[in-house]
Symmetry: C2
Subunit: 330 residues, 2 copies
C-alpha cells in the first residue's frame, strides 16, 4: 500500500519524520505495532461518516473480540435512563470492594463512531482487571446529533444510576472524544442539579481544546494516515459545529470556577499523542485550584494506544486506571 | 550575532525548526524570552569547564540578583556537615507551619557549575514564597571530583540536619543535575543507614538517564545554542565518566526495589525539555510501586525554565513546589 504524502505539511519532509526514531522508552511490542501502523491506510477525518463508521466498526469489533479473549467478562445489552448501554461485568464477579460502585465508560470516536464496539474495547479490560461493573454508553453522535446531545445522554444514565449508587461511588472515564465528554459531564450535571461523581478519567482528551506543541509534534512523529496531520481542533468537529476554545460548556477547564467542581481526575496519554498538551495544561489548571489531578504520559506512544491490549504499556495503563478508581471512589 | 548551524543535526534543516511555532499554551512572556534565547550564543557542553563556569557564573549571578529584588530573603554563608552551604530564609521569617522543617537545594549545572549562585536562584523564590528555610549545598563537582563525591556531600549535610530535624520534615529538591543528584541521595542515604527524607522534588532531571523522544524533540524545538543538540547523556558527563544507563547507583529509578524507597516525589519540566521523557518514565516507575509521585509538564517551555522568575509559568512552578512540600513534609 503506497502512503499518500498529500496530508503531510509541506514543511515536514518525510525524511524529517523518519529522522526521529521511536522512543527507546517504548516497549519492543510498541515498536513493532508502530512500524505496522505506518503502513495502515485508515480514512482521515475528512472522509465521509459512512466510511469512518465502516472502517472503525471493523477495527473496534476485532479489538473487542481480542479483549474478550484476554479478559473474561459478561456483557448485557440494555438501556439505562432510556439510553442504550452495554453493561460489562467480570466473569468472576464484581470484587467485594467494588460491590457498591459503578463505572460509566464514554467511548472515543470523534463524536461520530464507536457506539457499537468502541465502548467494549474500553470497558472490558477495566471490568475484568479491576473487578468493576462498567456501563458503556452508546451516546448520540454527529452528524445526526450535535452538542450537547451526548452530554444529555450521559446525564440520563448517571441520573438513573444515582437511584442505586451514591454519587461518590460512581466513576466516569473515556478516551479521546470520550475523555472530552467525561469533562463536559461536569457542566451538564451542574446544570441539572446533580451531585458530582466520585472520580473522573479523561484519557487522550480532556476539558480543553487541543493545541500547544502536541499536534505539531504528533504530525512529525506519528506518520500513519490514522492520525490527523497538523492542526486538530475539537471545536471544528461536526458534533461541535465551530465551538470556540474558550466556551466553558464545551471546554470546562478554561475556567477556574468550573475546574473547582472536578472530583479527583486521572489523565493518561501517549507522549506522541496530539492531545497530550491539552492534558498537561488541564492537569495544571486542576492542580492550581487544588483538585487532586494525576497525569501520566507514555513516552513514544500515540493517541489511544491502550486500545491495543498486546502492548505492555496498555496493561500498565489499565492498572493505573483500576487502582485510581479503587482508591478514589467512595 | 550569527547563529552557527554546525550543531544542528543534518536531518533537521533550520526551516524545519522554525516550522514548529512556540506552543500557544506558553505565556506571552515565555514567547518573548524564547525568541530572545534563540539569539543567545551560550557555550556548549563541549566547551572548557573554565568557559562554562565563567558564562554560567555571570548568568546565575544576574539571576540571583533578580531573585533577591523580587523575593526578600536573608542569606547566611556557612557550612553544614563540613560542606559549604548558603542558608536562605524569608525576610519575613519562616512560617509557623515550617518552623520544624527544612529544605535542601541541590543546584543544576551539569555537575560542573552552579555552586556559587545557581543554588541561590533555585532557593530564593521557594524560601520567600513558601516560608521555608532552604539550605543550598555547594557540593563537589567535576572535573575536580567524580561520582559519588556530590552524593557524599549531600549525605553529610543531611546527616547534620538530622540532629535538628526529623527525617520526615526534611525535603530535598533540585533542577537538572540537581534533580538527578536528589534522586541519587536515596541510594547514598540507604548505604549510610540514614532514614529517608519526607519528600523529594526532581525537576528537569530525575533518577533515570536522559532518553526517549524528548532529546530529539528538544533539538527540533529549542534552537538556542544554550541547549544540547541531539543525544544528551548524563552518563557521559565528566562527573559520571561513562556510567551505564542501568547502573542503579547513578540512576536508581531503573530498579523497582530502589523506586520503593522513594518518599513522595514531585517532578516538573518544560514540555520541550530534553529531560521530559526521563521524568514521564520515572513518574510511571514510581507510580507502579505505589509511590506518591506527581508530574507536571509546562507545554512549550524548555529545560530549567523557572530559573527566569519573570515568566508566569515560573510563578506557577514555585507555587507547585511550595504547596507540595507544605503538604508532604512531616
Amino acid at each position: 500500500m503506497v502512503e499518500s504524502t498529500a496530508k503531510v505539511p509541506a514543511a515536514a519532509p518525510i525524511a524529517m519524520i523518519d529522522a526521529i526514531p521511536l522512543s527507546g522508552m517504548a516497549s519492543p511490542a510498541a515498536a513493532r505495532l508502530f512500524a505496522a501502523m505506518k503502513r495502515i491506510d485508515a480514512p482521515s477525518l475528512e472522509s465521509s461518516v459512512g466510511e469512518l463508521r465502516a472502517y472503525y466498526g471493523v477495527l473496534d469489533r476485532r479489538r473487542a473480540e481480542e479483549m474478550r479473549r484476554r479478559f473474561p467478562v459478561d456483557i448485557e445489552v440494555g438501556s439505562t435512563g432510556g439510553v442504550p448501554v452495554k453493561i460489562v461485568t467480570p466473569r468472576e464477579g464484581v470484587s467485594s470492594a467494588n460491590a457498591g460502585r459503578v463505572l460509566i465508560n464514554l467511548h472515543g470516536g470523534a463524536f461520530m463512531w464507536g457506539g457499537e464496539y468502541g465502548g467494549l474495547v474500553e470497558s472490558i479490560p477495566i471490568a475484568a482487571l479491576g473487578g468493576f461493573t462498567v456501563v458503556a454508553v452508546d451516546y448520540r453522535q454527529a452528524p445526526e446529533h450535535v452538542h450537547p446531545a451526548a452530554s444529555e445522554d450521559v446525564a440520563a444514565v448517571y441520573a438513573e444510576l444515582l437511584d442505586s449508587y451514591t454519587a461518590k461511588s460512581i466513576g466516569i472515564y473515556g478516551c479521546s472524544a470520550g475523555g472530552v465528554l467525561t469533562a463536559q459531564a461536569i457542566v451538564e450535571f451542574t446544570h441539572m442539579g446533580l451531585p458530582m461523581p466520585g472520580a473522573l478519567g479523561t484519557f487522550c482528551g480532556t476539558g480543553l481544546e487541543f493545541g500547544g506543541d502536541s499536534p505539531h509534534l504528533a504530525a512529525l512523529t506519528t506518520r500513519s494516515s490514522k492520525f490527523p496531520k497538523g492542526e486538530v481542533r475539537l471545536g471544528a468537529l461536526p458534533y461541535f459545529g465551530g465551538a470556540a476554545a474558550d466556551d466553558y460548556r464545551v471546554f470546562p477547564l478554561v475556567s477556574d470556577d468550573w475546574a473547582r467542581r472536578f472530583p479527583p481526575t486521572l489523565m493518561i496519554a501517549g507522549g506522541r499523542d496530539f492531545a497530550a498538551s491539552s492534558l498537561t495544561l488541564g492537569h495544571r489548571r486542576l492542580a492550581s485550584v487544588d483538585c487532586d489531578s494525576r497525569l501520566f504520559l507514555f513516552d513514544g506512544l500515540w493517541h489511544a494506544f491502550f486500545a491495543d491490549p498486546e502492548l505492555p504499556e496498555s496493561g500498565e495503563a489499565y492498572d493505573l486506571i483500576c487502582r485510581f478508581f479503587l482508591e478514589c471512589l467512595g
